[in-house]
């Protein structure tokens, strides 16, 4: 597989004495879609937040293109962050701004483009995510699926090299979930960017992933192409893919 763009090297993280990441080693290949699967509360979101410096590890290194981001100060970290886009679980749209202003926000902040050009690109991006003509709406007027699509438009508008997705299909009906999956698949194929998705949606995972990694008790217990993951005999992975309460994973 392609050379890694993001590398986790022995990352440890605890909250109030509870270990969440326990020496996590993980490589994210460049230009591909990597899906990290695992149980809810199993550290997937924490892993994602470490990639973009929203959290710092207790121990270990996180390399983005060979640069360790765990020790960067604010200014340098912001430079790295501009290579990223992120879709948050509920979209994280700014309530006080319209849909159009939300999508255009990164352009307003980080480019010198004039107003007309910003508006044009914003509208174009809304067409890409299937929401033409919604610029004037407020986020509160949108459904969950629409909010996620606006969030995706905002994440993609600066054409970032790496896009992070926090549970892109959770809380959506199957049809909307499929629409989001297709959107992820299509935009990744068109752009050839690096996508990192965390999910516990098995069906979606096999649809969009080039690489799958299973996170369990703070470590990666299985990784590989979807084909390799299907054939992997690891009983924990097998139970997770089957989706049954019986097996080595204990339900508390």
């Amino acid at each position: 597989m392609a050379e890694p763009i993001i590398v986790f090297d022995g990352v440890h993280k605890s909250f109030r004495g509870q270990k969440v990441l326990d020496g996590l080693d993980l490589e994210i290949p460049r230009g591909r879609t990597t899906v990290i699967i695992g149980r809810s509360g199993g550290g997937k979101s924490v892993t994602l937040k470490h990639m973009i410096g929203l959290m710092r590890p207790d121990r270990g290194r996180i390399l983005v293109d060979g640069q360790d981001i765990t020790r960067l100060e604010k200014g340098a970290l912001n430079e790295v962050r501009r290579r990223f886009g992120m879709l948050f679980q509920e979209g994280a749209l700014f309530d006080s701004l319209t849909v159009g202003e939300n999508v255009a926000f990164p352009l307003v902040e980080h480019t010198q483009l004039d107003r007309a050009e910003i508006e044009r690109r914003g509208s174009e991006m809304l067409v890409t995510v299937g929401l033409p003509g919604t610029e004037g709406k407020m986020p509160a007027e949108l459904s969950g699926g629409m909010r996620k699509r606006v969030g995706l438009a905002r994440a993609l508008i600066l054409e970032p090299e790496i896009v992070l997705f926090d549970e892109p299909t959770s809380g959506l009906d199957p049809i909307m979930a499929d629409a989001i999956d297709r959107l992820i698949l299509r935009t990744q194929q068109e752009s050839g960017r690096t996508y990192v998705v965390i999910s516990h949606d098995i069906r979606a995972t096999f649809k969009i992933a080039h690489k799958i990694a299973m996170l369990y008790q703070g470590r990666i217990i299985a990784e590989g192409t979807p084909e390799e993951i299907r054939r992997n005999p690891n009983p924990i992975l097998a139970q997770f893919l089957r989706g049954t309460a019986e097996g080595p994973i204990q339900v508390q």
Binding site: R81, R82, F84, L93, D95, H110
Partner: protein, 256 residues
């Protein structure tokens, strides 16, 4: 015993962490406050919210405070025939004490709570994380405009409160209680000095700073869920009010 020590130790560590987080937040906010760039648009929007939209409530409380002061002062001064000093008492009390304190308490209830609730909601819905991810400093974007609004607008509101308070006092003293109008005005003008008003404005600026910082801090670190936002809002109002009243004593003592 071990369990108790563990509990107690954790409590102490958490408190110390809280104080440290508080200090770091304050330091970062002040640094962003005094260094460019400033978010003008956000700042004006907050000034409108904290200032302009608080005018009606401040006018109402200021007027009635001045009126009741006149009543109470009249009751006391009549005992030794010094009704003429009611105007002085109302003016000094409003300018030095009640103007700044009541204004900032009303703004805390109105805007301080709203600041905590808004930032708290932004925290739990990951909007603050989204700002950071988009390489926009949330301290500059969210916190500094609100602190500036508090610093600038509470003194302005305080002037409004002083003014309507004195008017209210005049109305009660002269029109209702029959104090001689000339005496009332003369005593007010003679004994209430510009320094008294400025003294009150310095306080108002300090209180505005306090209520904005506390609201921002509580909202910024709101724990998860709707319950967390509610808790942050309540704590912001209580803490800001207490800090305003405590600092009021020390500010008065310093500027005595």
């Amino acid at each position: 015993m071990v369990a108790f020590l563990e509990w107690f130790g954790r409590l102490v560590v958490e408190r110390i962490e809280e104080v440290g987080r508080n200090a770091l937040f304050l330091a970062e906010a002040v640094r962003a406050l005094v260094t460019p760039p400033l978010r003008w648009r956000q700042t004006f929007r907050q000034m409108e919210f904290v200032g302009v939209r608080s005018v009606s409530v401040v006018v109402l409380t200021g007027t009635f405070t001045g009126m009741v002061l006149a009543l109470q002062a009249y009751y006391g001064f009549r005992k030794f025939g010094a009704e003429g000093l009611v105007g002085t008492t109302v003016g000094l009390s409003m300018a030095r004490e009640l103007g700044p304190v009541l204004t900032s308490l009303m703004v805390t209830a109105r805007a301080g709570s709203a600041i905590a609730a808004e930032l708290g909601t932004m925290r739990v819905t990951e909007q603050i994380d989204a700002l950071e991810v988009m390489a926009v400093d949330p301290i500059r974007y969210l916190v500094v405009p609100r602190i500036l609004a508090g610093l600038a607008m509470v003194p302005v509101l305080c002037v409004v409160s002083d003014f309507v308070g004195v008017l209210g006092g005049y109305f009660v003293g002269v029109k209702l209680l029959g104090i001689n109008s000339g005496v009332y005005v003369a005593n007010t003008v003679k004994y209430v000095e510009l320094a008294d008003v400025l003294n009150g404005l310095v306080k108002a600026a300090c209180f505005g700073f306090i209520l904005a910082v506390v609201g921002c801090y509580k909202g910024f670190y709101a724990p998860g869920g709707a319950q967390g936002v509610g808790k942050a809002t309540t704590e912001a109002v209580v803490l800001a009010s207490v800090l305003i009243l405590i600092s009021d004593y020390f500010l008065t003592a310093i500027m005595f």
